[in-house]
């Protein structure tokens, strides 16, 4: 896989994971740094079993320099976008990082569980556990009892 193919295939997913973890500002910057690192070292990174997972770790390192623990997720919908509860963002921020990344990737952004698990470099069963716990916490925080099927 060339670097260009990798970015084309996995760039959005990598960005999604870091944005879910650290918010749109820090997360997007971290993804940019991780991709830049991947470009510079593609000969080595491209040969890894899971380049996306590795660069996700690189992005984590970059993000943690600038990450603030609260207030990093949008609390209100962007103009013209569907509404969501104002308590959703704080509830998301209270989740552990893998829980938040899992639930955002799969339930908010539509990635498959397998794709999310690969990015986090965990088994899919582990990811499902994270997501299940996250959903329980979110339901409790938002007092939501209705789930769409």
């Amino acid at each position: 896989v060339t670097y260009e193919e990798f970015v084309r295939r996995d760039g959005a997913r990598l960005r999604a994971g870091l944005v879910a973890a650290y918010g749109p500002d820090v997360g997007a910057d971290a993804a940019a740094e991780a991709l830049a690192y991947g470009f510079e070292h593609w000969v080595r990174v491209g040969g890894m079993e899971n380049p996306a997972g590795y660069l996700y770790r690189v992005g984590q390192s970059e993000a943690r320099k600038h990450f603030r623990p609260t207030g990093f997720l949008p609390v209100a919908p962007a103009p013209g976008f569907p509404e969501f509860e104002p308590g959703l963002a704080p509830a998301m921020e209270s989740l552990t990082e893998p829980q938040r990344v899992g639930v955002v990737l799969v339930h908010a952004l539509g990635w498959t569980q397998r794709e999310a698990a690969e990015l986090l470099d965990v088994d899919i069963s582990t990811l499902r556990t994270h997501i299940a716990r996250a959903m329980v916490k979110l339901r409790t925080a938002l007092e939501v009892t209705v789930d769409a099927r």
């Binding site: 260009e4 193919e5 970015v7 084309r8 295939r9 760039g11 959005a12 997913r13 960005r15 999604a16 944005v19 879910a20 749109p24 997007a28 993804a31 940019a32 991709l35 830049a36 510079e40 890894m48 079993e49 997972g53 590795y54 770790r57 690189v58 390192s61 943690r64 320099k65 997720l73 949008p74 209100a76 919908p77 962007a78 976008f81 569907p82 509404e83 969501f84 509860e85 998301m92 893998p98 955002v104 799969v106 339930h107 908010a108 952004l109 539509g110 498959t112 397998r114 965990v122 088994d123 899919i124 499902r128 997501i131 299940a132 979110l138 938002l142 939501v144 209705v146 789930d147 769409a148």
Partner: protein, 700 residues
């Protein structure tokens, strides 16, 4: 406002993506990151222009697509198993999506650093600074300077496409000329260049297509099948290249705004029978939140070998359920969830935009199994396809291993042809030590290990080991060869000799490594035999082999301690610490006021790191950690911590240090993670990360 959590999360995701400013949702069109370094292909423009003899005279650069555009087909969920997949489903036409304006002009120069041709292909850019403060152009990249520009076509079809046109029109009206950072497409027409622009032209840096003067894509700079796909579409329309591709771009833009497929898209991709969302929800996202398969459904996993890498494959029941492409070896995979009793066909789309049809010779797959997961392998290597269905997980794995040329799981052959006394010698490993004779006076010879199995037991010969020559380590009837295989860790790592000034120090490191390894393996063996063979010595093979008596005694003592269920390492202050397990083994979770500490080396750059962890100045962990596959996590159970705040410190022999505090609630269990992390260019250097949780922490 929706009252269900799922809808709220989807709304949240939409806002999150809009604030990110780049696609992050699955199905959003893939666009290049603004931070991704410039594609070497993009620089070929500059390189070609700087060198009149260059054969590259035109090039299409993908700069991204409308952020709202859904994929034309559901992305392959598992294409990455064996290789790259076309996640957008748009194939050769993907670069056109998002195009807004087509201009024509004369290239009068470039601003910014120039490219240098690289003999092996592509170009390099030595003049580009890594320091953003020194950039004189966006991202420090060359800008194409144009004159005598005219607008050739306004593609339209979306607001963002119109935005691109608007930019061009305003620039033309101002009379100030136009400079382009990353055009979507470039064709050369004599001395004139035709540029295809998207609104993201100033940030997109990826390239996939290049065209020579005749419009033919250039190998290595093109999307597979683009020549044929473009030619077919142009023949279909009977119009010229610009009119045809602009019309296609418009249809893609319309579709990206949730509009219907136009006639050209239908010609290329076929009629849109169902929306991609419906496909996705049925096939890719069918599991329930807790991971269980829905009632009346079954998980399926289909692997295909010997396929044509230039084709796209899918499964079709009443409708197309999903697509996947293969790696260069023709291997691909697709997995998901289907209703029990569904009949699906393997279908192929011969080249992007081609006809979709059943793969000849492959029977329909009837998912009527009672198995937990329906697994099938289809081999298209020969003219007569072969298939196996309802495979067990082990059978599936072994089928894949066979395809990859690996021996079946759990079966050790004799690859070295060195069978000896009934032992199959399965691995000969040489451990070269990194030794600089100009710096260090003590030579570090290479060590060689031979591992052998006879089905239930394992032997490792340490040959030419700097410290332990001619020692056989024998594990008898361990019940788990895999556990024994970790004995290989006993050898010095490749970097252990670096910086060592005396042989004694090397020996000490070797003994420490063996001590740590035996400690772990001994624990595992104790677990494996705890029911039937209490008190068994797990260091039998070391006795009488010239190994340090204290080491043997210590290991045997630790193993015995473990067998009796006693804590192994005292931490003082009334607290105890025991290494409970490594990741992948049955886990014991803390209760009451116990703390479970996970420790791991996550750095591929430092594949072996000695880590010491102290709590309140009392050593808790002092061991050597291998990165392995980044899944080498070891847990330590800490008991007897006093209530109140504690200070945890972690140090490594590579210079990383961490200090943090934690306050476990009295009587409640805690979980903590310390991992070591470093990669080159990491401004933070070698460091630890520390996390604390009030619930179990899961890894792979």
């Amino acid at each position: 406002m929706p009252d269900d959590l799922e809808s709220q999360l989807q709304a949240f995701g939409a806002t999150l993506e809009s604030q990110t400013g780049e696609p992050i949702a699955n199905g959003s069109p893939m666009m290049s990151s603004s931070a991704a370094r410039p594609s070497r292909r993009w620089w070929s423009i500059a390189g070609a222009a700087a060198c009149p003899c260059a054969i590259v005279i035109g090039l299409v650069v993908v700069t991204g697509r409308d952020a709202d555009a859904p994929a034309a087909r559901p992305p392959s969920p598992d294409a990455s198993v064996f290789g790259s997949g076309d996640s957008s489903g748009l194939g050769a036409f993907e670069p056109l999506s998002g195009v807004g304006a087509v201009i024509e002009g004369t290239v009068v120069g470039f601003r910014g650093p120039m490219a240098v041709a690289v003999e092996s292909g592509g170009v390099d850019y030595p003049g580009r600074s890594e320091d953003a403060d020194e950039w004189t152009t966006p991202f420090g990249l060359p800008v194409i300077v144009l004159s005598d520009v005219r607008l050739v076509a306004s593609v339209g079809g979306s607001g963002r496409a119109d935005e691109a046109t608007g930019r061009v029109e305003r620039a033309l009206q101002s009379g100030e000329g136009i400079e382009v950072l990353a055009p979507v497409g470039v064709y050369r027409e004599g001395d004139r260049y035709e540029l295809w622009l998207s609104p993201e032209q100033d940030i997109g840096l990826m390239s996939y297509l290049a065209f020579d003067e005749s419009g033919k894509t250039i190998d290595g700079l093109s999307v597979s099948g683009a020549d044929e796909a473009f030619r077919r579409l142009t023949e279909h329309t009977g119009e010229g290249r610009v009119a045809t591709l602009a019309a296609m771009a418009r249809e893609l833009n319309v579709a990206s705004d949730d509009g219907p497929r136009g006639p050209l898209m239908e010609f290329v991709y076929g009629p849109e029978e169902v929306s991609s969302e419906e496909n996705s929800s049925e096939f890719y996202d069918g599991t329930t939140e807790d991971g269980a398969t829905r009632e009346g459904h079954v998980q399926i996993d289909v692997r295909v070998f010997g396929a044509d890498p230039s084709n796209v494959y899918g499964l079709r029941g009443d409708r197309v359920l999903g697509w996947f492409s293969t790696d260069d070896e023709g291997r691909g995979a697709l997995s998901g969830e289907l209703p029990l009793g569904e009949t699906v066909h393997l279908v192929v789309e011969a080249s992007p935009g081609g006809v979709i049809d059943d793969v000849p010779g492959v029977p329909p797959l009837v998912v009527d199994t009672e198995m937990e997961e329906y697994r099938a392998v289809i081999d298209l290597d020969d003219d007569l396809p072969a298939w196996e269905t309802e495979l067990s997980l082990a059978a599936m794995n072994n089928r894949m291993r066979s395809e990859l040329g690996l021996p079946p799981e759990g079966v050790h052959d004799d690859p070295l042809g060195l069978e000896r006394d009934g032992w199959a010698l399965v691995q000969r490993t040489t451990h070269p030590f990194d030794y600089d004779p100009d710096v260090f006076s003590v030579p570090c010879p290479q060590a060689e290990a031979i591992e052998a199995f006879n089905g239930t037991s394992q032997v490792i010969d340490m040959l030419e080991h700097p410290t332990l020559p001619d020692v056989d380590v024998l594990v008898l009837d361990v019940g788990s060869v895999d556990a024994g295989s970790r004995l290989a860790d006993a050898f010095l790592g490749s970097g252990d000799c670096v910086g060592r000034a005396a042989e004694a120090e090397v020996a000490e490191t070797a003994l420490s490594s063996i001590r740590a390894t035996w400690f772990r393996v001994g624990s595992e063996l104790a677990i494996a035999t705890i029911v039937g063979e209490q008190g068994r010595s797990v260091v039998l093979g070391l006795e009488g082999q010239g190994i340090d008596d204290d080491l043997i005694g210590d290991l045997a003592h630790r193993a015995d301690q473990f067998l009796r269920g006693e804590p192994i390492t005292g931490a003082g202050s009334g607290r105890t610490v025991s290494e409970t397990s490594r990741l992948g083994e049955a886990q014991v979770e803390p209760v009451g006021g116990q703390v479970k500490l996970w420790v791991s080396n996550q750095s591929f750059e430092d594949d072996t790191v000695a880590i010491t962890i102290e709590i309140d100045g009392v050593e808790i962990v002092a061991d050597t950690f291998e990165v392995g596959g980044q899944h080498n996590w070891f847990s330590f159970m800490i008991d007897g911590l006093e209530p109140g705040e504690h200070t945890l410190t972690a140090t490594s022999d590579t210079g990383a240090a961490f200090e943090g505090t934690f306050t476990p609630p009295p009587g409640e269990p805690r979980w903590m993670v310390v991992d070591y992390w470093y990669y080159p260019d990491d401004a933070e250097g070698r460091h630890f990360t520390f996390d604390e949780s009030d619930e179990p922490i899961y890894f792979a």
